[in-house]
Structures are given as C-alpha cells and as structure tokens.
C-alpha cells in the first residue's frame, strides 16, 4: 500500500513540529525517516499511523483519504520504541491480541488464531518463547515480539518508531540485517524512524532526511550520501569537513588558497564547502597541484584505514581517512606538513545555503 502525505502541519503549543511536509512512499518499499531528535520524524510517523492528528494536510493510504480515520481503521502496524508489550500477557497472548479484539463477525476461530500466531512466532524465530512473559525476554526478543504482534493483524503498512534505539550495539546490528531480510520476505510497505544515519543508509530503500519539521531530501541511500541536497544533509550523513570561503569562477578561495570546484557556481562572497574525510589526497607541501597547507597532529591507524587529524594554518581542524598502505607509502608522521587536496567537493551557496 502506498502512502501519500500532503502539506502536513503540526504544532505543539509554540513548537512547530511539522512544517508543510509532503512525501510519497511507494508500495512495498522500506523507507527511513532520518533526522536529529526533535526534528518531527516521530510526529510524522504517528500522524501516518493515526496516533496523532495533523493540524492541517492530508494522509492518503492507497490513494484513499485516511486523514480522519481512527488508528483502529487504518490497518497499520505500529512498533513502539519501547515495544509497549502488554506485560500481564504471555508472548502468545500479546501476538494474538489484535485478532482476539476483532468484532465476532471478523474474528478468526481460536484454532486459526493459534495457527497464525505460531506461524508469526516462527517467522520472528521465537516460537519457543510463546509462554513467557515480556519481562522474561531480552531487549532484542521483545523487539521481535512487538514486530510479530504488529504483523498479526496483517497491516497494509508497517510503522516502526526507533526500532533499534533501545538495544545495545551488537544486537542492533543483527536486528537491522534481520529486519531487512524480513522485509524482503513479506514486502509490506514499511516506514521506520531513526536518528542513526548508518542504520538508515544500511537498511532502507529510500531515506527521507528531516530537519526542524521540514523534509530536506528524499532519495536512495547512495543519492543522499553522495549528492546531499542541502548543507544539513551533507553534515548529518557521515562526517564531513567544512570550509567557508568565496567562490569565484571555478575556485573556492579559503583564506589565500584556492580549491578547484568546477564551473556551475555563481560568484559569491559566502559559500560553504563540504569534503568527506575519505575524499582527500594528502600531498607533499610543495606539490604542483596546489591545495590547502596543513600540519598532521595525530595519526590513528587501527584497522584497515588510518584516521589523520590535521590543523590548517588558521587552526581549523581537518579529518582525513586514508588507507594504511597509502599512509605508509607517503611515510607521513605526526608533525609533518602536507598539502590537502580534495578529490570531491560540494559547494552550497545562496538559497541552498540558507536551507
């Protein structure tokens, strides 16, 4: 089922949680709503679910206007950040809840319920926990039971609020992969909220980056990472180095040094440029290709790559990641002076700068 969100506004007192948000989510995709905490992503998810009503705007589910529909009638599955399992019920009863509260006419027979719950518990690989209570489960297990419970009512849309937020790092990584596999199996349109960019990039088909109640960019993980539409997206997805300067033709002037940035830029006094740590080459100081002079402060070479911390002449810090092989070929050490040359550089100016 597709989801269309049009011109949603939501205000909490003086706080503007969502500011004219529009969004299309095609059927069958796994989409991440990504943004810092307080950006409005959870509010948007709750409005799609019907747990919150928007002040204005429409929610279309499968082309039908569902804005005024109660959460009961939206046929959405919602997985809460803290799972919201019913703690006085067994795992089995939790998963069966949605089927058992149906009006008599639509309620499956108890044997059918049993079959479906068992199948779901097998799907989340926790059939052996059916008779336990939520308090006897680990965090990861609770998360999977919450998911099974949401799926039991055969929702057309699955909504997950920070699904891995409360788990420790190792379990989180496992569950991420598992969620992706599960989605590939059942193909229900899914939206999940996260503030973890790595999670969003790894799991989803599409990423919606939200900041201060507005959608900054929508795209595949590659698109938003490689071609960020706004400075916010560039800085929120992965680490970046920031340069302020003046654009003049094909060059960005940072202090008295110029960096080549390509042609389609207006002449302006105020521009911001982003370069990711792995997009630098480290060259000898007097290299003919030019670049920014900097001094190596620290080298951390653990694992396959080395992180190099440098200081520009004006004291600003720059972070660079290069392979350890390259580092040893160059023979660089702490205290050496080098020239920094970006291979890729993203320049934001004018309107996009303000975004």
């Amino acid at each position: 089922m597709s989801i269309h969100v049009t011109d949603i506004n939501k205000q909490f007192g003086a706080f503007r949680a969502l500011d004219n948000v529009s969004l299309d989510i095609p059927s069958g995709q796994l989409v991440a709503l990504l943004g810092p905490s307080g950006c409005g992503k959870t509010t948007l998810l709750r409005i799609i679910a019907g747990l919150e009503y928007a002040d204005s705007g429409r929610i279309l589910l499968d082309g039908e206007d569902a804005s005024d529909r109660h959460v009961r009638e939206r046929q959405v599955g919602f997985v809460f950040q803290h799972y919201a399992l019913f703690r006085h019920m067994t795992v089995f009863d939790n998963v069966a809840f949605g089927l058992r509260v149906r009006p008599k006419k639509f309620r499956p027979a108890e044997a059918e319920i049993r079959k479906r719950v068992t199948r779901l518990l097998d799907l989340v690989q926790l059939g052996w926990l059916a008779d336990r209570y939520p308090s006897q489960l680990s965090g990861g297990q609770r998360q999977r039971i919450a998911l099974a419970r949401a799926l039991a009512v055969e929702p057309k849309v699955l909504l997950l609020d920070e699904p891995f937020g409360a788990l420790d790092a190792k379990v989180r990584k496992e569950l991420r992969r598992w969620l992706r596999q599960l989605h590939d199996e059942i193909h229900v349109t899914s939206v999940f909220v996260t503030h973890d960019q790595e999670e969003a990039l790894e799991v989803s088909d599409r990423v919606v980056v939200i900041n201060k109640g507005k959608v900054e960019q929508v795209g595949t993980p590659e698109e938003v990472y490689d071609n960020p539409a706004t400075p916010f997206v560039a800085s929120f997805l992965g680490s970046v180095n920031l340069f302020h300067g003046r654009v003049d033709g094909a060059h960005l002037h940072v202090g008295e040094h110029a960096l080549h940035v390509g042609h389609d830029h207006n002449v302006t006094d105020q521009a911001i440029a982003f370069v990711r740590p792995h997009e630098f080459d480290l060259l000898p100081v007097d290299s003919p290709e030019g670049g920014l002079p900097a001094r190596i402060l620290r080298v951390i070479s653990v694992g396959p790559t080395a992180q190099v911390e440098l200081a520009r002449l004006d004291g600003e810090l720059v972070e660079v990641t290069i392979s350890r092989d390259a580092l040893s070929v160059l023979g660089l050490r702490e205290g050496d002076n080098v020239s920094l040359r970006p291979r890729t550089i993203r320049v934001f100016q004018g309107e996009r700068l303000a975004a």
Partner: protein
Amino acid sequence: MSASIALQPGALARYETPSTSEPAWIKVTLITVALTFFVIFLLFPLGTVFVQALSKGWGVYLSALTSHDALAAIKLTLITAAIAVPLNVVFGVSAAWAIAKFEFPGKRFLITLIDLPFSISPVVSGLIYVLIFGAQGWFGPWLAEHDIKILFAVPGIVLATIFVTFPFVARELIPLMEAQGAEEEEAAVVLGASGWQVFWHTTLPNIKWGLLYGVILCNARAMGEFGAVSVVSGHIRGLTNTMPLHVEILYNEYNYAAAFAVASLLALLAIVTLGLKTLVERQTRKQISESQKPSES
C-alpha cells in the same frame, strides 16, 4: 485550586491523543460521578463541622473554646503530641537507616512488624495498656502499691498515642531511602565524613521532605487519635480528656455547638495537614524532576 494542573501539563497532555481518549460524554459522566461523591462524602462533612460550630454565633463558639475544660483538653493534646512525635521521629529515622542502607536477613519481616500498629484496631491498641497497667494487669498491683498512675492518667494517653502513631515516620522514610540507595553516603564516607556528618550532610537533605511529611501525618494522628485514647483515658474532665474525647463528651451531652467548636479546631488541623502534604508533595516532585533533568537533556 488548579495548581496541580499547572504543575504537570505534560503528564496530562500525554493522554490527549486521539487513540487514548474517551468520548466527551463518558468524561463528563465520570467527572460528575466523582465530584458528586466528593461533595457528599468529603466536602459536606467538612463543611458541616464549621457550620455547626458557628450555628449559635461567634460568642458561643469562642466561649466553647476558652472554657476551662476545653483549654485543658487542648493543652493535654499538645503535650501528648509533643512527646509522641519526637520519639517516633527518632525511631523512624533509625529504623529507616538500618533497613534502607544495610542488608540483613528478616528485613521484610521487620517492616511488617513496624506496620503492625497501623493494622490493629485503635480500641485493641488501647486495651493492651489496660492489660498491662490496669488494676488486674501485669504491673497493676505494683503500681498501686507505689501510687503511680499510668492508666486513666496522662502517661497512659501518651503511651497509647505513641503506639498508634508508631509506624508513620518509618513508613514514609523506608521506601524513600531505599529508592535513594547508599551511594551518596558511601561517597561521603570515602571522602572522610564521620557517621553523624554523613547523616547531617548527605542523608538528611535528601530525605527532609519525606521526613516532614511523616512528621505531619504522625502529628495529625497523635492529636486526633480517639479510639485508643478513649480506652485508657478514664474521661476525667480537665485532667485526662484530649480534644477528641472532649468533643465526644460535649456531643453526648447534646451540647452540639460546643462539640463542633472544639471539632472545628481539629478539622482546621486536618486542613493544615492536607495543605502541608500538598506542599511537600509538590516539593518532592520538583526535587525528582530536577534530579532527572540532566539525564533528559
């Protein structure tokens, strides 16, 4: 009046999402039922006390309060509370310290024993002192021989009051101090504080509101106790009548205005107690929300 609303807007707003609220008619019905019950069962009796007290005018009211017997009853009530409350405060703090800061076997059982006076009928609480100090009691003959009066005298009233107010301070402090754990005290010890310093500078500031709350409740019960005191007092006017007993005597003599006049003082005490309690709760809530702030941001 709407203070508690202003205090916790967030707590209320939580319930105002469309999926977790009831239709308006249900809300209105439930609020009406609760308010009706409140007016009939709580507000009305409280109001009656003051209306009846003043039914014959201020003159009668004041003379009822300033009569010799009334003043003696007030004095005895104050003396009783002044002895019982501090004793139970010392006990409460000491019991809470032992129970909350240390582990030892039989702890839960000890807590149950401390709660015991709370679940015993006040009449039985009075009776036990009759069995001990009465003419046929354990020490009765010996006391009579030495001409010491405990039963039907002030010491009996004080003892019975201590008994019925025994758990109040302890049961406020134990859960509070258990929740706070022993970490801060251990830190103080590591920094070189002595036992009393640990208590004064670390524990007391943390429990002061709970302690105050316990003292308020303990005092209210000490001044208002009726059943237990009634058994041991002997009802000697001007000598062994506390305020509640004086109220009873006046009422049984059909001297309603005077009975309610003295009762109005006790009702005022109850109102002050509830006011202080609300204040203390507000303080503790503030303390809790302040201590949680750093972890939230």
